[in-house]
């Protein structure tokens, strides 16, 4: 791979050379840092906490190493560079997709900058966050240290290029990120913090818990994944060194069990130990982490609500709040419709065994209706124009512990019902695991919200900003109806209620759309092709 002969020779000759100005490395590093226009991170002169003046071979350090070493290092670097940069590209590959999409959004929404993992040396491909020196919500001035990164050389303070507020930490302390990937978001103003935080939800699929030692200092809970655990339930899993005794009660857990509990966010108090003397061992924590997840969300949350206290919004709650307030800027109106679902119910019974879900059926029916009424699938972003969306992406609201998320069934009109059902299941699983990618929950063009499972017969939904319409679906219930021929019969019926942006969608549009939808649902043979 490497030309060792040449390499060695050059090293030797360069070390024998008279000192050269030690500059070459510096501009290159600096250039790399500024290559990425969005890079809000710089390298500071300060090295590790203890000795700011240690020369580590980095640019802004007060005493750069002597030149022979530099030359040697440089040469080695340049030999390694192609592969190193290739590596960097490769390891950075998954990031651009997500970050570019968020950058696009970022331009639309607000001045929210990403802080990137800087390349602190030419051989560095990824860096580990040692600690965050700033907490979320902190105001930062240009040049303030934000984070300590462990590079391949040493710990380096990384400082911000811009003034602003540290809105969201995307990579918690202790985790690594490839060079060039976003590790935090910097909001230009305090008002933009919630926006940044909702944007933060789109990053980092890992459901890592916040660094334990920092939680106290933070205003909002920092976990990057989209739906953070509801604050009250949030288990303050003990940090590795923390005693097994908490609040007087004793928990005997092995070191690894404690570590796992911390990593998986499991409350050791809720775990039954199977080890000697009832000790909690690793497998108990693993079992607890996988098992109760499904049972917990329904029951767990409420009893733990700290009554009488004020709990700050989680990232997700902040995002919801912001969206809801924004929706007030849109003039909306509502149109309701009652649809008979006997045929749909029958179809559902028939194909349920093939994994088809009611949500998928409703989404499919809606999408097919939207094909005929593109205006209902349109959106108005600037108050001056229609955007006729090219795809029909049905977002379906899902309640998960501590919030609400809208996984999106993309091209619901084109996919067959079986694929659509599979897709739906996958999205729900991901949503529960807090692993939805941004495009999987923010690309909807029309939203469905169904509260029928709770027995709700009708309700009214708020239009999510950026879309044209949302449909609230009530329960399908056996209803006594009079038919045209004067008889009385029982039919299963459900009420749907569409909220729409009246700047672009008018009453007649909705009425026509609902009529089409009811026809499709009442004669659902087309749903299965």
């Amino acid at each position: 791979l490497l030309d060792f002969g040449a390499n060695t020779k050059a090293r030797l000759s360069s070390s024998g050379d008279q000192p050269k100005p030690p500059s070459p490395l510096c501009p290159r590093l600096i250039r790399r840092a500024s290559d990425t226009p969005e890079a809000a991170a710089a390298i500071t002169a300060a090295a590790s906490e203890q000795q700011p003046a240690q020369s580590l071979g980095f640019p802004v350090l007060p005493s750069p190493p002597t030149s022979p070493a530099m030359a040697g290092l440089l040469h080695l670097n340049s030999t390694l560079l192609p592969s190193a940069s290739a590596l960097r590209r490769r390891s950075g590959a998954p990031v651009p997709g997500s970050s570019s999409s968020s950058r696009r959004r970022c331009r639309v929404e607000a001045k929210i900058r990403e802080i990137f993992m800087p390349a602190l040396s030419s051989t560095m491909t990824e860096g580990k966050i040692v600690s965050w020196t700033a907490a979320e919500g902190d105001r930062l001035s240009k040049g303030d240290p934000v984070v300590v990164v462990e590079s391949d050389k040493a710990d380096m303070d990384v400082e911000t290029f811009h003034d602003g507020f540290l809105a969201a930490v995307l990579v918690p302390a202790g985790e690594s990120a490839p060079v060039g990937s976003a590790i935090a978001l910097l909001a230009e103003s305090e008002e933009e913090i919630p926006a940044a935080q909702s944007q933060a939800a789109s990053f980092s699929p890992s459901a890592a818990p916040p660094p334990p030692q920092e939680t106290a200092a933070q205003e909002t809970s920092p976990p990057p994944p989209p739906p953070p655990p509801p604050a009250p339930v949030a288990v303050s899993a003990p940090a590795p060194p923390s005693p097994a005794t908490q609040g007087g009660a004793r928990v005997i857990a092995s070191p690894y069990a404690k570590k796992l509990a911390n990593d998986l966010g499991v409350d050791l108090f809720s775990v039954t130990g199977s080890g000697p003397g009832g000790r909690i061992v690793a497998k108990d924590v693993e079992a607890a982490a996988t098992a109760p997840k499904k049972a917990a969300p329904v029951v767990a949350a409420r009893p733990d609500v700290p009554l009488g206290s004020t709990v700050p919004f989680t990232t997700m709650q902040g995002a919801v709040s912001k969206n809801m307030v924004e929706s007030l800027a849109v003039p909306t109106f509502r149109v309701g419709y009652t649809i008979t679902t006997d045929a749909l119910d029958q179809l559902y019974k028939k194909i349920k065994s093939k994994g088809v879900t009611m949500s998928a059926l409703l989404a499919k029916a809606t999408a097919m209706a939207l094909v005929q009424h593109p205006v209902v699938n349109a959106s108005c972003r600037d108050g001056k124009s229609f955007t006729y969306n090219s795809s029909i992406n049905i977002a379906v609201a899902v309640a998960i512990d501590g919030g609400l998320i809208t996984p999106v069934l993309q091209d619901a009109d084109k996919l067959d019902i079986y694929s659509l059902s599979r897709k739906w299941k996958e999205l729900v699983d991901k949503a529960r695991a807090k692993q939805l990618q941004p495009h999987e929950y923010n690309s909807g063009t029309f939203t469905l919200s169904n509260l029928g499972m709770f027995g709700v017969d009708r309700f009214d939904a708020i239009l999510p900003p950026g879309t044209g319409a949302i449909m609230a679906v009530g329960a399908s219930q056996p209803t006594v109806v009079g038919t045209k021929d004067g008889r009385i019969g029982m039919k299963n019926q459900m009420q749907v209620n569409v909220t729409a942006d009246h700047r672009i969608i008018y009453g007649a549009d909705l009425a026509a759309f609902l009529q089409t939808l009811s026809k499709i649902i009442e004669d659902p043979k087309d749903l299965t092709f």
Binding site: P65, P241, T245
Partner: protein, 566 residues
């Protein structure tokens, strides 16, 4: 320096006149204060010819009455304790004098087994266990294997097999040691040695009844594991390194009391073999003896990713062995407030709180020597001091028993230094040139001062201190091994280029440190050693990087001009 000069004149006067001439020449540069032979520090260009050396040796030996027997004494030298220190001293004593005559007539008294702690219950068997742990670690690290392109089916181990390996290694080294002494004519006397008077030792098994006289005596009785009060050692579930090295069991969960070298190495062994470990450390930080930066990184590399947790700032005030189906109970109290903090329930506890000198029964009271916390007080030449602060003539103490630096190789170096003195060559061992190593994976090694020590010294003496660091991630060989974790750090004086300390954490750090320790011992400065060539690609280039990165302000000894500021 005053003191050294005085010592020279005293010893010179005791030397026969024939030797005085060459002796004066030899010491022209002053007393050797380095840990190595040769006069590099004082006067690099001065070399004594072999002939002069031999002549000198004869003269010296005559002066000491060492030639052709021991005169009125049974032995020239009796060493009490056949550990690594005693062994090093004995070998040097019999070999020392060179071509012209045989060496000192030497006996070594051992009441237990030859090899002492290091060979039987310390460094040697622990290295065997650590060799196993290193391999286990590698084989279990799927990611590491995969990135090398290797596929290995699941690795397991046979506890007894591992234990046997450690035991066999100890036996082998022990017999090597014994044979080397026998072959060179060291008398190995069995029994416990007691000093009964000036230059007189009694020894024997059970009832010591044999008495011998010796011109010089070296105490090298070593140390035993220190067990704090309140800890009940049963050897099965609560034990010291003595038991642990036999590896009679691999507990699921073991508490290690003390996070120094011993504790750290055992945590490496136990976690590699599948145990979970809880450290109990009295100080506020783990690995308190290490350079803080190294300790921090060591925690990141050796503690945090492993199945280890820890309690710092706590004493284990009471430890009860497991019995009647109950686990080992460890009561922790706050190190400062002494308040009870909590009780740990674990499967086993290893007491690694340090070592206590083994000096009981030496008969020191017979010669008016009072131990200090068990340690035998010595001066910088390892000469034993009596209760009144005077040097006890012809009596020396080396190794753990004097507590200066409790390391096997330090004991050996002190022993050699003593033999140098009693054969007429004054010698002071520079303890700052003695390297230390912790054989975890990766290893930690150090020599000289830690950074806080260096800065304190600098503040006091008014000089500047610089630190340079480099990473194993920048080293080709380390990357080839996929072992990029680690740093090396050099602490030096930018005004003179003197190396004050070097600390390494990384692959084969224990082997890498010697370039630095030799440089310190020989007084080589960074501006000189930076021109020494290192083979590429080797791990030694880590140190090369360090030396080259160091900036020295005055180009004192080299003609190459260095930019003072870039």
């Amino acid at each position: 320096m005053m003191q050294s000069t005085a010592a020279v004149s005293i010893s010179a006067s005791s030397v026969a006149t024939g030797a005085a001439r060459s002796g004066a020449a030899r010491r022209a540069g002053g007393v050797r204060v380095c840990g190595l032979r040769g006069e590099a520090l004082a006067c690099p260009s001065l070399r004594i010819s072999p002939a002069a050396h031999a002549r000198l040796a004869v003269a010296r030996a005559v002066a000491n009455g060492a030639v052709g027997g021991s005169g009125e004494f049974d032995y020239d030298l009796v060493i009490i304790g056949a550990g690594v220190g005693g062994h090093g001293a004995a070998l040097h004593a019999v070999e020392e004098v060179g071509e012209a005559c045989s060496g000192l007539k030497t006996a070594i008294i051992e009441g237990d087994v030859v090899g002492g702690t290091c060979v039987n219950r310390g460094c040697v068997p622990s290295k065997a266990l650590l060799a196993v742990s290193g391999r286990m670690r590698e084989l279990h690290d799927e990611h590491h294997m995969k990135s090398l392109g290797l596929q290995v089916s699941s690795a397991g181990y046979d506890r007894q097999g591992v234990a046997d390996h450690a035991n066999n290694l100890a036996s082998k080294i022990r017999s090597n040691l014994t044979n080397s002494m026998k072959a060179l004519g060291v008398d190995i006397l069995t029994g416990v040695g007691t000093i009964v008077g000036k230059q007189k030792v009694r020894y024997g098994v059970g009832f010591p009844d044999k008495e011998i006289t010796a011109r010089n005596i070296i105490i090298a009785t070593g140390s035993v594991p220190f067990v704090p009060k309140g800890i009940e050692v049963d050897g099965k579930t609560v034990f010291t390194s003595d038991h642990a090295l036999k590896l009679e069991s691999v507990p699921d969960w073991i508490a290690i009391v003390g996070s120094g070298y011993i504790g750290l190495e055992f945590s490496d062994v136990y976690t590699a073999l599948g145990s979970e470990v809880t450290f109990v450390e009295a100080l506020d930080q783990l690995m308190p003896g290490f350079d803080p930066e190294i300790a921090k990184l060591a925690q990141r590399v050796l503690i945090n990713p492993r199945k280890i947790d820890y309690h710092t700032g706590v004493f284990a005030s009471k430890i009860t062995p497991a019995k009647d189906g109950k686990p080992v109970l460890i009561e922790l109290i706050d190190a400062k407030t002494k308040e009870h903090k909590e009780t740990l329930e674990v499967d086993a506890a290893l007491i690694a709180t340090g070592r206590a000198p083994f000096t009981k029964g030496l008969g020191l009271e017979n010669i008016n020597v009072a131990t200090q916390r068990g340690f035998v007080p010595v001066d910088e030449r390892m000469r034993v001091m009596d209760a009144d602060g005077n040097v006890v003539p012809n009596l020396y103490c080396i190794g753990d028993a004097n507590g200066k630096l409790m390391l096997a190789h330090a004991a050996s170096a002190q022993g050699i230094s003593v033999v140098e003195q009693i054969t007429g060559r004054d010698h002071i061992l520079n303890h700052l040139s003695i390297p230390a190593a912790c054989f975890t994976h990766p290893e930690i090694s150090m020599v000289g001062l830690t950074e806080p020590q260096a800065r304190e010294k600098a503040d006091k003496e008014g000089f500047e201190v610089n630190v340079v660091k480099t990473s194993f991630k920048a080293n080709t060989k380390a990357l080839a091994e996929n072992e990029g974790d680690g740093i090396a750090k050099l602490i030096y004086r930018p005004d003179t280029g003197e190396i004050l300390g070097v600390h390494i954490l990384g692959l084969h750090a224990a082997d890498l440190i010697h370039e630095a320790s030799n440089a310190i011992a020989l007084g080589i400065r960074v501006q000189d050693i930076k021109f020494a060539v290192h083979a590429h690609p080797t791990l030694s280039e880590v140190l090369d990087e360090l030396f080259k990165a160091a900036k020295v302000n005055s180009g004192l000894s080299h003609s190459v001009n260095e930019p003072v500021a870039a």
